[in-house]
């Protein structure tokens, strides 16, 4: 049944978020550190195992797939509740720092991607 997949998805989210809260507490931060990231790793591991071992049948998978399909619509809803008025009203300082922060970060992406794709053999031959 679809709910089995959805329940698995939900349990993974709880496990990940809980771990993130614990990690945040251990680090003394009033925030969740990587909770959703851990949740995603749990989901990947468990769904791969479930499909291989056969206990996650196609009906269960369809439950997870439904929520995946709802992702963009939820993001659209999320965009519609942003405080856009505040963003624009923050004035030149808020706008300029936001813009510059984004531009500089974008520039780093190809730089880091290139760094990441260098194979160990290439790296050694340059020494």
């Amino acid at each position: 049944m679809a709910i089995y997949g959805v329940a698995l998805l939900s349990a993974c989210m709880f496990a990940g978020v809980f771990l993130g809260d614990v990690l945040g507490g251990l680090l003394g931060v009033k925030a969740n550190v990587g909770g959703v990231g851990f949740a995603m790793l749990f989901l990947i591991l468990l769904t791969n195992r479930g499909i291989d071992k056969g206990w996650l049948d196609s009906k269960s998978q369809s439950g997870i797939a439904f929520w995946s399909a709802m992702y963009i619509p939820i993001v659209v809803a999320m965009s519609s509740i942003q405080d856009v008025v505040a963003a624009l009203a923050g004035g030149p300082l808020a706008i300029l720092s936001g813009v510059l922060g984004v531009v500089v970060a974008f520039v780093f992406i190809p730089v880091l991607t290139k760094m990441g794709s260098k194979t160990p053999a290439e790296g050694q031959s340059e020494k």
Binding site: L9, S10, M13, G20, G28, V29, K30, A31, N32, V33, G34, G35, V36, G37, M40, L41, I44, L45, T47, N48, Q61, I64, W67, S68, Y71, I72, I74, V75, V76, A77, M78, S79, S80, I81, Q82, D83, V85, A86, A87, A89, G90, G91, L93, A94, L96, S97, G98, V99, L100, G101, V102, A105, F106, F108, I109, P110, L112, T113, G116, S117
Partner: protein, 255 residues
């Protein structure tokens, strides 16, 4: 029998269901328009842009801070687009992600998070100083705001910043988030945002969970889990570093 009142009441008491209708309509319109551009602009990018327009309309007409959800009739959007649903949907996109691709990212992925947080903080703190906010607490708070609009107020509260500085930090973070949403599909090809590794760098460098989620969705929904993975670690790490290490170093340099 006031039909209009009954209609509004239905939306008010069934907010989430109403949100599903609105999002369905907005998305349908956006994808139709995207079709007219012959695929040059992704439907999701237009839909997200429409969402931001709705957010502006909601904020400007009510003076509220919840965008379109500031209008009582559309408060359901606040649930559908809120943290719980957002995180739930992001986690679900991992279904079908390849763990081998994630492992391939390694050190540069972790590095992207630190570079992203560091550059944002420096830019925010530096510009704050130039704007006349030359006390360390304000500089650190605004720097943290450029990290993300969550890290800003968390840092400001921790350091005891004044509320107008915290407001600026949130505004800077929201500007960044909105910009990432809009710009990502436009620059994606230029920066090679077409594989899991670059998506992870993207999430680690930009950091804003909402911005990267929306931005990546407009480029290639299959890459969303990779971007989201690093972005979620970014916010927590930012909340850790900004009020502590970064503030202390800034204090030593300027204070």
């Amino acid at each position: 029998m006031d039909l209009a009142k009954m209609f509004v009441h239905m939306f008010v008491s069934n907010g989430f269901i109403g949100a599903l209708i609105i999002v369905g309509l907005v998305t349908m319109l956006a994808y139709k328009i995207a079709g007219l551009t012959k695929g040059r602009i992704h439907g999701s990018a237009i839909a997200i842009f429409f969402g931001l327009v709705l957010a502006y309309i909601g904020g400007i007409t009510t003076g509220g801070h919840k965008g379109f959800a500031s209008l009582p009739m559309f408060a359901g959007m606040g649930f559908m687009g809120g943290g719980m649903m957002r995180d739930f949907a992001i986690v679900s996109t991992a279904f079908g992600a390849d763990l081998r691709e994630i492992k391939k990212c390694g050190v540069p992925g972790v590095l992207s998070i630190f570079i992203g947080i560091f550059t944002s903080f420096v830019i925010g703190a530096g510009l704050a100083y130039l704007w006349g906010y030359n006390d360390v607490v304000s500089m650190a708070t605004i720097g943290a705001g450029v990290v993300t609009f969550v890290v800003g107020p968390v840092t400001g509260a921790a350091l005891g910043a004044s509320s107008d500085v915290i407001a600026i930090s949130i505004a800077a973070g929201v500007v960044k988030s909105v910009l990432v949403m809009i710009m990502t599909p436009l620059v994606a090809k230029m920066i090679g945002l077409d594989n899991p590794q670059s998506a992870m760098m993207f999430g680690g460098l930009m950091g804003t969970t909402s911005g990267t989620a929306a931005g990546m969705a407009a480029v290639d929904p299959k890459l969303v889990p990779y971007a989201a993975m690093t972005a979620t670690f970014y916010t927590g790490t930012g909340c850790l570093l900004c009020p502590s290490l970064f503030y202390l170093v800034l204090n030593m340099m300027v204070g």
